[in-house]
C-alpha cells in the first residue's frame, strides 16, 4: 500500500490518517507536500482528480505546534493502474500560501485558481493566480463560511439566514 511506502520514504510526513470503507485519507504539512507529490507520482498516482478546500472558522488561525490553521486544502488522487484513491489534506492558515502543483500536474492550474477564488488561499509559484469563476473585483471569497450566502445583497435584508453572521450584513 502506498501509505506504508510514504511512511518508509518520508518518515514523519503523515501527521494524521484515517480510513473510511477503504477510502484512505492522510494529513500532511505543506512543507512536505511537494516531496509527497513526487513520491505519489512515482507510485502511479498520476491522475489529480480534484483540489478543493474546507473552511473551519472555529479553528484558531495559527499554524505550527499542533495548530492547523483555518483551512484544509484537499487533494484527490487516483492511481489509474491499481484504481486506488488517496485523499491528502494540507492544513493552512488564513493568509498563508500553499506550494503550487502546476509544475507536476497541468490540471492543477484551474483547480488552484478556483480554490483561490472561492476561499482566498494563495498558491505559491502559480503562473496565473487570478480568480476563475467570479469577476476580478468581486468583494470577498464566496465559499468562506463568514461570507453571507446571498453575497450581502441589499434586497435580501429580511429573512437572510446566512451562517456565522446572525443574519446581519457583513462578510468582507
Amino acid at each position: 500500500m502506498v501509505i506504508e511506502h510514504i511512511d518508509a520514504q518520508i518518515p514523519g510526513a503523515i501527521l494524521d490518517r484515517h480510513d473510511f470503507r477503504g477510502d484512505q485519507t492522510i494529513v500532511v504539512a505543506k512543507e512536505t507536500l511537494l516531496a509527497l507529490v513526487d513520491l505519489l507520482h512515482g507510485e502511479g498516482f498520476q491522475f489529480l482528480v480534484d483540489i478543493t478546500a474546507v473552511d473551519w472558522p472555529e479553528r484558531p488561525n495559527i499554524q505550527g505546534g499542533g495548530a492547523a490553521g483555518r483551512f484544509d486544502v484537499v487533494y484527490h488522487w487516483l492511481n489509474l493502474a491499481s484504481q486506488e484513491r488517496l485523499r491528502v489534506k494540507v492544513p493552512v492558515a488564513d493568509g498563508a500560501t500553499v506550494p503550487t502543483l502546476t509544475g507536476r500536474f497541468k490540471t492543477a492550474d484551474w483547480f488552484e485558481r478556483e480554490v483561490f477564488d472561492l476561499f482566498g488561499i494563495r498558491f505559491e509559484g502559480h503562473p496565473n493566480m487570478k480568480r476563475l469563476l467570479t469577476w476580478d473585483d468581486f468583494p470577498g471569497h464566496a465559499l468562506r463560511k463568514d461570507f453571507p450566502l446571498d453575497g450581502g445583497d441589499v434586497f435580501c435584508m429580511e429573512g437572510c439566514t446566512a451562517p456565522y453572521n446572525n443574519g446581519e450584513r457583513g462578510g468582507e
Binding site: 467570479t134 469577476w135 476580478d136 473585483d137 468581486f138 468583494p139 464566496a142 461570507f147 453571507p148 450566502l149 446571498d150 453575497g151 450581502g152 445583497d153 441589499v154 434586497f155 435580501c156
Partner: protein
C-alpha cells in the same frame, strides 16, 4: 358606374390602435435561453404548440433582428452586463418576457452568484411563473403581452425604453470613473438602488 360610399372604403381609428395592432401580431422573438426553460420554449415554437398561430414565428438569434426577448433561465450576476448589452442592441420598440421563476426572482437560487430577478437590470413586461413553465404557460404569457401592446401608447413605450438607455450611459460612466468590471458596476448600482429603496437600476 356604381356610386362609392365613403363609409365602405374608409375607416377612422387612432394611430396608436392601428400601429399597435400591427406590432402585436408580428412579434419577432429572440430566445435568451440559458437553462431548462429554453427546452420548453423549443417545444412552444415547434409544431405541437406552434407559436406561429400568434404571428410570432420569425425566431431570430440576433438581437438586431428581433423585438421580443424571452429570458429562459437563470441569469447570474456575471451574466447581467451581457443581458443589458443584448437588450440594448434589440430593434425598437422592444418587449421582454421573463420566463420561469429563476429569471423572474432568482427562484430557488438565493445565492451570491444569481441575479435575484432580471427586472432589476432590464425592464420586463410579462412574467411567466413555473419551474419550468409548460409551453401553454409561455404562450399565455405571449398572449398577455399582446393584450398589453394593444393597450399601450406609442410615446409611453418610447420613454420606457429611453429610461433604460439613460441607465446604460450611467453604467458606462461609473465603470470608466471607478475602473471597475461591468459586473461590479452593476452590483454597486444595485446596492445603491437598494439603499434608496428602489427596486431597479434603470
Amino acid at each position: 358606374m356604381a356610386e362609392l360610399d365613403i363609409n365602405d372604403a374608409v375607416m377612422t381609428t387612432r394611430l396608436d390602435a392601428v400601429v399597435n395592432w400591427g406590432r402585436k401580431n408580428s412579434l419577432w422573438p429572440m430566445p435568451f435561453g440559458v437553462a431548462c426553460c429554453a427546452i420548453e420554449f423549443m417545444s412552444m415554437m415547434s409544431s405541437k404548440y406552434d407559436l406561429a398561430r400568434f404571428g410570432a414565428e420569425a425566431m431570430r438569434f440576433s438581437p438586431r433582428q428581433s423585438d421580443m426577448m424571452l429570458i429562459l433561465g437563470t441569469i447570474t450576476n456575471k451574466m447581467a452586463p451581457v443581458l443589458r448589452t443584448i437588450y440594448a442592441q434589440m430593434a425598437e420598440p422592444k418587449w421582454v418576457i421573463s420566463v420561469g421563476v429563476c429569471a423572474s426572482s432568482g427562484g430557488m437560487y438565493r445565492t451570491y452568484a444569481t441575479l435575484q430577478g432580471v427586472d432589476r437590470v432590464i425592464p420586463v413586461d410579462v412574467y411567466v411563473p413555473g419551474c419550468p413553465p409548460r409551453p401553454e404557460s409561455i404562450i399565455y404569457g405571449v398572449m398577455k403581452l399582446q393584450e398589453k401592446i394593444e393597450k399601450e401608447s406609442l410615446s409611453m413605450r418610447k420613454d420606457h425604453i429611453a429610461r433604460f438607455y439613460d441607465s446604460l450611459a450611467r453604467q458606462e460612466s461609473i465603470q470608466a470613473e471607478k475602473g471597475l468590471t461591468s459586473q461590479q458596476t452593476i452590483r454597486e448600482m444595485l446596492m445603491d438602488a437598494g439603499e434608496r429603496g428602489v427596486g431597479t437600476i434603470f
